[in-house]
């Protein structure tokens, strides 16, 4: 029978961190692209352009369309799957501290979630946009 201690050495926590960090980055991409798209019409069109491949991303009338939401989703998908692949390759043989990572992961999720709550996030977004000269 295998000794449990032997097994422990075979497993690496790197892939767990890779899978969860990549989705954090995807949610962050959703948040950033969402706030950018709200600043000006040009920026909205720029974000929207990434989502034109999604059926129902453009159009008007009663049936509507999801508009630039499609671009935000596409950017998030690209960041999610792309970064997951890269981090997984980098860390699949590494053991990273999940104790630290779990805390960071949950706190980051809470912060990103609050970033989607406009009464809280809008003053910050407008301040940052002001630094770039966008009003």
């Amino acid at each position: 029978m295998q000794n449990p201690a032997d097994n422990q050495q075979v497993l690496h926590s790197g892939p767990v961190v890779a899978a969860s960090l990549s989705l954090l980055l995807a949610f962050l991409t959703l948040m950033v692209s969402h706030h950018i798209s709200r600043l000006t019409r040009e920026l909205d069109n720029m974000v929207h352009a990434y989502g034109h491949w999604i059926p129902g991303s453009t159009g008007s009338g009663p049936d509507g369309s999801i508009g630039s939401y499609s671009g935000k989703e596409t950017l998030a998908l690209m960041v999610w799957l792309g970064s997951w692949l890269i981090f997984h390759q980098l860390w699949r043989k590494q053991d990273l501290s999940l104790q630290v990572w779990t805390r960071f992961f949950v706190i980051s999720l809470v912060v990103i979630t609050l970033g989607f709550f406009h009464p809280l996030s809008d003053p910050i977004v407008l301040f940052v946009a002001g630094l770039f000269g966008i009003h």
Partner: protein, 192 residues
């Protein structure tokens, strides 16, 4: 008094299972009614509602299975990961059908137009929040599924990894519930 493990007898099992079956059927009727609402978008609304309720039910069940994972107890991994995979598929269905019905929500004279004209904050704050947090459960659940299948049975020897998977399931459920409650409020306010 004896303090041993409580084991359900036959009668208790029948009561519990009947209760679950009745509650589940009635709960499912809530979104299934959408199919018969007087609107051109009953099919889209019905599919989104049914997949959302199913995701909520399975997600809630999984929160109970997540506790032993967090505590580092021995779990039936084969069954657990099949349920988590099932939840992942349901959450994807919820997100895709959500995109589908969101088109009509934003359409001409759709719920968004009405809400902006009458109670704008329900769109500007609640919907703008809901449309994004509702996308969270699927990737979270997929990460949990990936982890359970990637490591396989030896995962039981790594309590830190099972704990992380358990927490991911709980977090996914929290976002699911946030999106679900917000979605219900909006659908109740102005149906498609």
């Amino acid at each position: 008094m004896q303090a041993g493990e409580y084991i359900h007898d036959h009668f208790t099992k029948i009561v519990v299972r009947s209760q679950v079956a009745i509650a589940f059927t009635l709960l499912l009727l809530l979104p299934a009614a959408n199919f018969f609402y007087p609107t051109d978008y009953g099919l889209k609304a019905g599919i989104h509602g049914v997949s959302a309720i199913l995701a909520i039910v399975i997600g809630t069940y999984l929160t109970h299975r997540a506790i032993p994972l967090i505590k580092g107890m021995h779990v039936r991994l084969e069954s657990l990961r099949r349920w988590v995979l099932f939840a992942t598929v349901l959450n994807l269905a919820g997100a895709i059908s959500g995109n589908w019905i969101y088109m009509r929500y934003r359409g001409q004279d759709g719920p968004r137009d009405w809400i902006l004209a009458h109670v704008p904050n329900f769109h500007n704050v609640l919907m703008e929040f809901k449309e994004f947090v509702s996308l969270f459960p699927f990737p979270l659940m997929l990460a949990a599924t990936f982890t359970l299948y990637y490591y396989g049975m030896p995962i039981q020897y790594r309590r830190d990894i099972t704990r992380f998977v358990g927490i991911t399931i709980l977090v996914s459920w929290s976002f699911l519930l946030l999106g679900f409650a917000a979605g219900l409020v909006l659908a109740k306010l102005r149906f498609v």
